[in-house]
């Protein structure tokens, strides 16, 4: 069943500054699709761990991967609870006071249990989705996955069914009485910008930059 919004649950309740938050599916997906890395949080024996990871989205599941031997992957394979957060930093909000200073951002926080993706074909497809999330079209350009590579890689899916998004945009909200102060206020916009592609030193002469890399700046 596809609904427009994710359900409100105790852990996904938007407690702070509710006006910034939403559980709308389209908004959650848009932020997940715009991000490049996620921060995966787990609690192992009560101890929190937060690890940055690449990811991909396939409909209502989030896909991550890692080495079979990794502690985090083992935890997720065993059905461990995860909190996955994706944050896009859009700007620094420069206010007349420290209190009103802020950041412009878009973020998603989702909760769910890990589940292993099994089978060579399913794993290969999931890895292609992660690769194409980072660089759209790349999975059509690289060589096929080897069986031993797939065997060494744990692929985990986390259902996207308990998620919320938060965002802030626009200028600072200063106190009325601060507006007459002789202090500049505004926003420093920030963008993650690609530079010129750097060919590998071991690249044979005559191999052109492929479409996926050439078109990357328009991925957004």
């Amino acid at each position: 069943m596809t609904t427009k919004s994710y359900p409100e649950t105790d852990r996904s309740t938007l407690r702070r500054v509710k006006e910034l938050g939403t559980r709308e599916r389209a908004e959650v997906h848009a932020i997940l699709d715009a991000g490049l890395i996620c921060h995966v949080g787990v609690a192992i024996g009560g101890q929190p761990f937060v690890i940055p990871m690449a990811y991909g989205r396939d409909g209502d599941r989030l896909l991550v991967h890692g080495a079979i031997a990794s502690r985090l992957m083992k935890h997720l394979r065993g059905g461990g609870e995860a909190c996955v957060t994706v944050t896009l930093l859009d700007g620094l909000v420069v206010a007349r006071s420290g209190f009103s200073s802020s950041m412009n951002y878009r973020s998603v926080v989702l909760f769910g249990k890990g589940r292993p993706v099994e089978g060579e074909e399913e794993k290969a497809r999931a890895l292609d989705i992660v690769a194409d999330h980072l660089i759209p079209g790349r999975s059509q350009e690289y060589r096929e996955h080897l069986s031993k590579e797939l065997a060494a890689t744990e692929v985990i899916e986390i259902p996207i069914d308990e998620a919320s998004a938060k965002a802030r945009s626009g200028p600072p909200h200063d106190l009325e009485k601060d507006l007459e102060l002789d202090i500049w206020a505004g926003v420093i916009p920030l963008t993650l910008t690609p530079g010129e592609p750097e060919p590998s030193p071991d690249l044979p002469a005559g191999i052109e930059v492929p479409a996926s890399v050439r078109k990357w700046p328009e991925r957004g």
Copy 2:
């Protein structure tokens, strides 16, 4: 006592791809100083939560702040364990195989218990450190903190004494036999780039962009 490296502990042991990791104090500090946001992970009743936050560094303590009423702040105020991760994404590593595809990044993972920063003066100083971490020099430009603002703000310090850094840089490491394939390989470098400062619509005419904002691109 200041040592060159943070101690190895069970939770800060670098388990995966050890050659990329270090516990050197200078390296940890350099990454913390270059980042803008951290992801704070806590476990509340066994449930992981990962929240993006602004932060600052004051020697060997990390400073974060939030609303007094926030669940995360209450947990940290009560001495709750945190895992704080700062990740800088430097590039996408485009390999001839999915398996060798990667990212260039610098990251720090630190573990510690929260402690409240108490007293108006100490809180104000900590908030200035966070502000100056984001925009060096800004605390000299904005107006003084109000008592009621300080009272509404929880400031938490987390000791930086159990931390590790990881980093990857450079071209992809493809399999020897993949080097002769007719597939492009290299790196798409990524930089968080500031745009032109956007003055607030409520800014009176004649107030110049201040030094902190003008010089921001060189903060790195």
